[in-house]
Amino acid sequence: MPVLLSHEIPAGAAWSVQVRRGRVLRLTAKAAGANCSTFVHAAGDPVDRMNIPDTLKAQMSARVHAPMVLMSDRGVGLASVVGSSLDWHDALGGHSVDAHVGRFGPTSYGTDRNEWRRSARAGVVSELTKHGRGAEHLHACVNFFSKLATSDDEAGTLAFADGHAAAGDWVSLRAEVDLLVIMSTAPHPADPRWAPGAVLAEVHAGEPYGDDDPSMTFRDESARALIAAKAVFA
């Protein structure tokens, strides 16, 4: 598939891109331990956005993996995870805020110039604001390339999995409606180290799909979310 757009998001930075329905956003970790806190919104819609609890419960999963469909507040399949080298992307851990960054000591533009450490919150709110949205539009995100391991115990212990992703690990998302995707490469908020990695974002022209598409056949719920995506504009 031809690459329509290619942008490397540096380690610890934030970026946003609008992706046309049908196209594929492919994210590639450029370093081991990279994290990409990703927020998916319906472009041109004032409020509809990815809803992680609805996505997880409809597909009976505590992790994001192919060929799951990422669903919205209003029951629309926003994007399908059409492929990935990893079978676990975290959706429970949220994104970092300035308090997390503060655990690694003081940092500022004045002392560190563009190497200053910035939280996912700072970067994501900046990108949201550029698109006429703000912090009120923040919801749970997917932390691509990270794993917050779940457990069978009574407390439901969560533990950050060290070394989950290697350089070259990738995930591809097919836009099911026009999307605004906002990403931060700040470390996962449960990562005990500040060791961000860059992420390459590429937009490919997608291919049409039919009823035999893996996301259509995955579960009845996934198929209904994709049918809803086709019906956003009747």
Partner: protein
């Protein structure tokens, strides 16, 4: 708590409630008939964008279920409330709330016009300026959503029973927005939505 409560409200099956809990106040939700999910959102009364954050809460406590001692964090990592009593044992906060649209995805088009928590949240939230953008991911008190080590998630029968309650202490002035879940299509309400009771004591 044996003193006369400052708040004593029974929320009918499928109905909702919104109100302010003052800092230091005790707020109790009673599962009157058992196995009734109480979908709950908390907000910093001084800043609606500083709202309850399910993911921040579970990550910072390192565990996915809520119970006694759980600090209910906001998106800015402020403690909005602390669970001080829990006769149930554990509560869900990753299962979200039902909506008419998610019911269609989960159960089919015939459920589009069934009553759902999101309708209740929007109706009662409007009274205090909470709209769709401000509806974060909620707590499902009395609901059981077990996760497994291999990344599975399911809705299971409740671990609650008639008369069990959960109680929080407000750590600042907070708004509570509650939907007494009307869901009929899964076991979260024991297939029969019933009333809950809200009790509050504002001074100790």
């Amino acid at each position: 708590m044996t003193t006369t409560p400052d708040l004593d409200v029974t929320v009918a099956a499928g109905d909702g409630w919104v109100g302010v809990i003052p800092a230091g106040g005790t707020f109790r939700i009673v599962d009157l008939h058992g196995n009734q999910a109480a979908d709950t959102l908390f907000y910093d009364a001084a800043d609606l964008d500083n709202r309850y954050s399910a993911m921040d809460t579970i990550r910072e406590q390192g565990a996915v279920y809520l119970t006694t001692g759980s600090k209910l964090l906001s998106a800015n990592l402020d403690v909005l409330a602390t669970i001080t009593e829990d006769l149930c044992g554990r509560h869900d906060t990753v299962g979200g709330a039902c909506s008419q649209e998610s019911n269609v995805i989960r159960y089919g088009a015939h459920t589009r016009h069934q009553h759902a928590c999101r309708q209740t949240f929007l109706r009662y939230g409007a009274e205090v300026g909470i709209g769709p953008a401000q509806l974060g991911h909620n707590i499902n008190f009395f609901m059981n959503v077990p996760l497994t080590a291999d990344g599975g998630l399911s809705f299971a029968d409740g671990v609650s029973a008639p008369g069990k309650h959960v109680q929080v202490r407000a750590e600042r002035d907070i708004i509570a927005l509650i939907s007494n879940c009307p869901q009929l299509n899964n076991p979260c309400n024991g297939w029969n939505p019933t009333p809950i009771q809200l009790l509050g004591w504002w001074s100790q």
